[in-house]
């Protein structure tokens, strides 16, 4: 059986991991490669590296970093942040990334999904969606959650699927940072309406939350950052727990 995936997400600025990473036993927690390796050894199934630098210089540094990650890390990794056109995708895949994650650029220019799928295959194209529950239902947000759009989460996810996305990475802004569990109801709706895998993001605070994302939300993978970075949950213990709960885990 295909295993459910556990994915730590690392934010990168100027080639270094940001957020106070407090990772036990690591010499330099700011080193994205060392941190990625440590997660991989703990049993992470994939890694996500998000470039939060805006400058041109930062982009260059990030691309070089992707090349070094590809040399050192022996599990799949996705990169995101600042991908606006096909040439950005080409640059990052050439540097050795396995997948790219696009967010705001996909909503602004949905045709980018089709282009990526046609040029590089659906499997490299992760469409990330930040959404929040409003009076009108689940609405998609742009620019790291700062700008509300008219788009409905479920309609947009379906459209992305049909255009050739390989996976949907859904972050619930209502749940993100709260640490009370993932948006399981919305996840379950996505899982039942899409023909591609769904990655749950936002809300992880305890091992049970991961279990529920898989059993109630029917997610294919679950992504988290701070609970892993601050050592609140170790991936090794999390996977042992999920195995005990009869979830297929690598």
């Amino acid at each position: 059986m295909l295993a459910k995936r556990i994915i730590p997400c690392l934010d990168i600025k100027d080639g270094q991991t940001v957020k106070g990473v407090n990772f036990v036993g690591l010499r330099s927690a700011g080193d994205p490669i060392e941190l990625g390796k440590a997660y991989s050894e703990q049993g992470a199934d994939e890694l996500v590296y998000l470039d939060i630098t805006a400058s041109h210089e930062g982009r260059k540094t990030f691309t070089e970093l992707v090349g070094r990650i590809a040399k050192e890390i022996n599990i799949p990794f996705t990169v995101g942040g600042g991908i606006n056109e096909l040439s950005d995708v080409d640059r990052l895949l050439n540097a050795g990334a396995d997948k790219v994650s696009i967010n705001s650029a996909a909503i602004r220019n949905p045709g980018l999904i089709d282009e990526i799928a046609q040029h590089f295959g659906s499997q490299v194209c992760v469409v990330a969606i930040d959404a929040k529950q409003t009076a009108q239902g689940w609405r998609c947000f742009l620019n790291g959650g700062r700008l509300e759009t008219e788009r409905d989460l479920f309609q947009w996810a379906k459209e992305a699927n049909e255009r050739g996305a390989g996976e949907i990475l859904f972050t619930s802004m209502d749940h993100d940072g709260v640490k009370e569990g993932f948006a399981n109801e919305a996840l379950a709706t996505l899982a039942s309406t899409l023909s591609i895998p769904v990655i749950a993001s936002g809300g992880a605070g305890a091992k049970e939350h991961f279990r529920d994302a898989f059993t109630v939300g029917h997610a294919d993978a679950a992504l988290a950052a701070s609970v892993f970075h601050f050592g609140e949950i170790s991936i090794k213990e999390l996977k042992a727990y999920l195995r005990k709960e009869n979830i297929t885990i690598r």
Binding site: M1, L2, A3, R5, S40, D45, A70, K71, E72, N74, I75, P76, L93, N94, G96, D98, F120, G121, S122, Q123, G166, E167, S192, S195, I196, P197, H218, D220, A221, R250
Partner: protein, 212 residues
């Protein structure tokens, strides 16, 4: 040891090169006939689409060259599928090293998505499958390619087409139904998953191949 990687119009070759370097060898990416023929090991990797890759191989006469190689050869992902007789993907005739046809996943359950993408368990066989004999591994021993993988090894897959169980199957994975995760015949080995992305299990398989 000289390890050559077949250079053709398939993607994802640099991950294989990086993985081999982590195993301590520096591979040569080439479509030079002489280099491919004299290498100690040849790897035929890639992600891609059956018809366009097969057309390219034929145009460059690499199809015949690969079939005639005598050293250990390892096909990965689309490389494995091209080593079979025929692929359902665009109804493509392939190299015919393995006398078996590649077919598309036809899921019956909504949770079985196509492509299969992610980690799935690989069960190395220690005795022939009851699908037509001619198993070449030793009796009650797994094939050397899949030795020492530990308990319940998981490997990383991305694919929509698969090789059914057949006399060449040396490792089985279950998705929609049991199918061939790995094949072996004479000097030809092939894996459907990506050993270059399969963590320590994948690294062991690449090292096993280099040691065959």
């Amino acid at each position: 040891m000289e390890v050559a990687i077949v250079k053709y119009n398939a993607g994802n070759i640099c991950s294989v090169m990086n993985a081999l370097e982590r195993c301590g060898v520096t591979p040569i990416l080439t479509d030079d006939f002489e280099v491919l023929q004299r290498a100690d090991r040849v790897i035929f990797p890639g992600q891609g689409q059956a018809h366009t890759t097969m057309t390219y191989l034929k145009e460059h006469k690499l199809d015949k060259l690969i079939k005639d190689l005598r050293q250990p050869v390892l096909g990965i992902c689309i490389g494995m599928q091209l080593m079979c007789r025929h692929s359902e993907e665009d109804n493509t005739d392939c190299l015919g090293i393995f006398d078996v046809d590649v077919v598309k996943f036809r899921p019956t359950l909504p949770e079985d998505k196509v492509p299969q993408m992610g980690w799935n368990e690989l069960t190395p066989l220690s005795s022939p499958l009851d699908v037509g004999a001619s198993y070449e591994g030793g009796k009650n021993e797994v094939n050397p390619l899949l030795e020492g993988l530990g308990e319940n090894p998981f490997v990383y897959y991305i694919h929509s087409y698969y090789v059914p169980l057949c006399p060449y199957t040396i490792g089985v994975t279950d998705y929609v139904q049991p199918y061939s995760g790995a094949l072996h015949k004479d000097n030809f080995y092939a894996v459907q998953f990506h050993p270059e992305k399969s963590g320590s299990v994948g690294e062991r398989i690449l090292k096993n191949f280099l040691a065959i």
